[in-house]
C-alpha cells in the first residue's frame, strides 16, 4: 500500500465477501428448493430466494468494484484519494441501504414492499435483477455519483493512466446505464427492450471495461511487465468488447416482439463476443510468461490467470453455445441460460473481484503477500470453488439439454413440470456440488486469518 487513503478499500472488500457468503447461502436454499419444492415455504418462497441470490450478487460485485477503484485509483494517479471521508460515508449508506433492501425482501411480501416504498409514484419494481424498491434505486444512484465524483477528482488531480481512464469509462457507463432502470414503459416489448440496456450493457459492455482495467492493474503489479505493453492490449480488448458487445445486445431481441433484423445483428455480433475474452486469456498468460519479477503473492497470480480462463469459458464459450438465433430458438429460457449465467458471473466478475482482493488485502494489512501456508490454503479455495462451479455448469448444461429434448423437440413433447421431474438427478448433483463451492469460499476467508508461517514483509 503506497497511499494512506487506499485503506478505505478494506471495508468495501470485507463487505463484498460478507455479501458473497450470503449469496451462496441463498443459492444453496434455492438449489434445494429445486428438488424439494416446499423447503422453507412459506417463510422464504423460491422467488424471494432467487431475488436475494441475484441481488446479493450484484451488490457484492459493486462493492468489489468500488473497493478495487478506491485501491487502484490512488496508486495509478499517484496521489491520495480526493476524499476518504466521502468514501467512508458512502460505504455505510450503501451497506445499510443494501441490508434494509434484503430485509425488506425477506420480511414482507413483495407487493407490500412495493406499496410501502412508493412504487405507485414511479413504478420501477418487479423486473428481474432490478427488483430494488425506489428508495434503494435512488440510493444506488446517489452512492454511485458520489463515488464517481470522488475517484474522478482523484484522477483529475493526479497522473492519468490508461488503466484509470478505462476503469473510469467503465464505472461512468455503469452509472449511466443504471438510469434505464427508472424507465419502465407500459408496453411490455419496450420495457424488455430498455431493460436490457441496463442488464446487457452492464455485463457485456461496461463491466468488461472494469474487468479489463482491474486485471491489467493486477498483472502490472505481479509481473512487472512494461505498462506500455499492457496498455496496448487493454485498448484492443476494450475496442473489441465494445464493437461486439453493444450491437450484441441484439441476441436478447430474438423473440420479444422486436424487428426481425435483430436475429441477424444479434447472431453475428454476439458470435464475436468471445474474441475479446480469448484475447484477455492470451494477454494474461503472455504477461505472466514475460514477467520481470517473482511476486511473492502466488495466489493472486493464480486468481488472475484463472479469471482470464474462466471468463473465456463462462462468458465466451457458454455464451456462444446459445447465442445464434436458430439455436436460441430451442434453448431460450432453459437451464442452458442458468449454466451460462453461473459460469460467466463466477468466471468473470466474481473471480476478478477475488483476484483483486487476493492481491490487495495483504497489502492493506501491511505485507506484500500472505504466508506460504495461507497461500496454499487460498489456492485450495481457488480450485475448490472453480472446479465445483465448472461442475455446477456442466450439470446445468446437461439438465438444459435434456430439458430441451424432452420439452421442445420430438413428436410428443412433455409439459414443463413433467420435464423438470426428468432432470431431477442433475439438480441433486448441482446442489451437492454447491456445498463444495461453499467449502471453497470458507477456505478463502479462512486463508486471510491463517496465522501459521511468516508473512512476507511489506513491499
Amino acid at each position: 500500500m503506497q497511499y494512506k487513503s487506499q485503506a478505505v478499500a478494506k471495508p468495501y472488500f470485507i463487505a463484498a465477501i460478507g455479501l458473497f457468503v450470503g449469496q451462496i447461502l441463498f443459492g444453496l436454499i434455492m438449489g434445494y428448493q429445486y428438488v424439494v419444492g416446499d423447503f422453507l415455504f412459506p417463510a422464504i418462497p423460491f422467488n424471494v430466494a432467487r431475488m436475494v441470490h441475484t441481488n446479493l450478487l450484484i451488490v457484492w460485485i459493486l462493492f468489489g468494484f468500488m473497493g478495487a477503484a478506491y485501491y487502484l485509483i490512488p496508486e495509478e494517479a499517484e496521489t491520495e484519494l480526493f476524499s476518504p471521508k466521502l468514501a467512508w460515508i458512502m460505504f455505510w449508506i450503501f451497506l445499510v441501504a443494501g441490508a434494509l433492501t434484503i430485509v425488506g425482501y425477506l420480511a414482507v411480501p413483495y407487493a407490500t414492499l412495493a406499496k410501502m416504498t412508493g412504487n405507485d409514484i414511479l413504478a420501477t419494481m418487479g423486473r428481474e435483477f432490478l427488483e430494488q424498491p425506489l428508495p434503494t434505486k435512488v440510493g444506488i444512484v446517489i452512492v454511485a455519483l458520489a463515488f464517481l465524483f470522488n475517484i474522478s477528482m482523484t484522477v483529475l488531480k493526479g497522473r492519468k493512466t490508461s488503466i484509470s481512464l478505462v476503469l473510469l469509462l467503465g464505472l461512468w457507463g455503469l452509472a449511466i446505464f443504471f438510469l434505464f432502470s427508472f424507465y419502465n414503459p407500459s408496453n411490455l416489448v419496450m420495457d424488455k427492450y430498455f431493460w436490457w440496456w441496463t442488464v446487457h450493457l452492464w455485463v457485456e459492455g461496461v463491466w468488461e471495461l472494469i474487468l479489463g482495467a482491474m486485471l491489467a492493474f493486477v498483472l502490472i503489479k505481479i509481473t512487472g511487465v512494461d505498462r506500455e505493453v499492457i496498455e496496448k492490449w487493454l485498448y484492443i480488448i476494450i475496442a473489441m468488447t465494445l464493437i461486439t458487445g453493444i450491437i450484441g445486445t441484439g441476441h436478447h431481441y430474438f423473440w420479444i416482439g422486436t424487428p426481425e433484423y435483430w436475429q441477424w445483428f444479434g447472431s453475428v455480433f454476439s458470435a464475436l463476443e468471445p474474441i475479446p475474452f480469448f484475447m484477455m486469456t492470451v494477454f494474461a498468460f503472455n504477461m505472466v510468461n514475460r514477467r520481470r519479477r517473482e511476486h511473492p503473492n502466488k495466489a493472486a497470480t493464480l486468481w488472475a490467470l484463472g479469471t482470464s480462463v474462466m471468463a473465456f469459458l463462462g462468458a465466451g464459450v457458454w455464451g456462444f453455445l446459445h447465442t445464434l438465433s436458430p439455436v436460441n430458438f430451442y434453448t431460450h429460457g432453459t437451464q442452458i441460460t442458468a449454466a451460462h449465467g453461473h459460469l460467466s458471473f463466477y468466471g468473470a466478475y466474481a473471480m476478478v473481484n477475488l483476484t483483486m482482493i487476493s492481491y490487495a488485502m495483504p497489502m492493506l494489512r501491511g505485507r506484500s503477500a500472505n504466508s506460504g501456508s495461507a497461500q496454499i490454503m487460498e489456492m485450495w479455495s481457488f480450485w475448490l470453488m472453480t472446479v465445483s462451479m465448472v461442475f455446477i455448469t456442466l450439470f446445468l448444461t446437461a439438465a438444459g439439454i435434456l430439458q430441451i429434448w424432452l420439452q421442445r423437440m420430438g413428436t410428443t413433447p412433455l409439459g414443463f413440470m413433467a420435464a423438470q421431474d426428468q432432470v431431477m438427478l442433475f439438480y441433486w448433483l448441482r446442489e451437492i456440488t454447491g456445498f463444495v463451492f461453499l467449502i471453497g469460499l470458507v477456505l478463502y476467508i479462512w486463508s486471510f486469518f491463517c496465522k501459521k508461517g511468516t508473512a512476507q514483509a511489506a513491499a
Partner: protein, 195 residues
C-alpha cells in the same frame, strides 16, 4: 517495431505499423467476413428477392466509391513512402488528400442513403435491404473511424512528429485505412453486382 527505411527486399517479422492494430484488423476482417457469408447464405434462401431488390441499387455510385477508396488508399501508400524519406510536410499533404477522398466517399454514400430512405426503405423492408443497409452503414462507420485516425496521424506528421526512422504511427493509420478499402472491394461486387 521495425521501421527502417530499407531499400532492400528484406522480410520483416511483423507487418507495418503497430502490431496491436493488426490484431484489431484481423478481428474486423472476421466480423465483416461473417457478415459477408451470412449475406451469401441468406441470398441462397431467397434468390428471387435478392436479385430483384439488387436492381434498385445505384451501381454507379457504388463503383465510383470503389475508385474513390482505392485512390485514397493509394494516397496513403504515398504518405508512407514520403515519411520514409523523412518528408513530413509531403507526408501530411498525402494524408490530407486521403482524408479528402474519404470525405468524397461519405458524401456519395449519403446521397445513396438519402435516396433509399426517401423511398421508404428501412432495415425491415426485406432481408436484402436489411443486409444492404447494415453492411454499408457498418462500413460507413469504419470509414469515419479511419478518417479520425488519419486526421490524428496527419496532425502529428504536420508537427514533425514522425521521421524517416520513426514512423510507426503513419504505418498504423495506413494499415487500418487499407483495411477499410479492402472490405469495400469485396462488399461492392457482392452486394451490388453478383446475382
Amino acid at each position: 517495431m521495425i521501421n527502417n527505411t530499407s531499400t532492400s527486399h528484406e522480410i520483416h517479422a511483423t507487418p507495418p505499423g503497430d502490431l496491436a492494430i493488426w490484431f484489431f484488423i484481423f478481428a474486423e476482417l472476421l466480423a465483416f467476413g461473417v457478415f459477408f457469408v451470412a449475406y451469401a447464405f441468406a441470398r441462397a434462401h431467397n434468390v428471387a428477392l435478392f436479385d430483384e431488390s439488387q436492381q434498385h441499387l445505384n451501381r454507379t455510385s457504388g463503383a465510383i466509391n470503389t475508385l474513390v477508396l482505392i485512390t485514397s488508399s493509394y494516397f496513403m501508400v504515398r504518405a508512407v513512402a514520403a515519411i520514409k524519406q523523412g518528408l513530413s510536410r509531403e507526408c501530411a499533404r498525402w494524408i490530407a488528400a486521403a482524408i479528402g477522398m474519404g470525405g468524397v466517399f461519405l458524401v456519395i454514400k449519403l446521397f445513396e442513403f438519402h435516396a433509399k430512405f426517401s423511398a421508404g426503405i428501412s432495415l425491415s423492408t426485406n432481408t436484402f435491404y436489411m443486409f444492404y443497409l447494415s453492411l454499408t452503414i457498418f462500413h460507413f462507420m469504419h470509414v469515419i473511424l479511419g478518417m479520425v485516425i488519419l486526421a490524428a496521424v496527419m496532425l502529428k506528421a504536420r508537427g514533425g512528429g514522425y521521421s524517416a526512422e520513426n514512423h510507426t504511427g503513419v504505418e498504423t493509420g495506413a494499415s487500418y485505412w487499407h483495411m477499410v478499402d479492402l472490405l469495400w472491394i469485396i462488399l461492392f461486387p457482392l452486394v451490388y453486382v453478383i446475382h
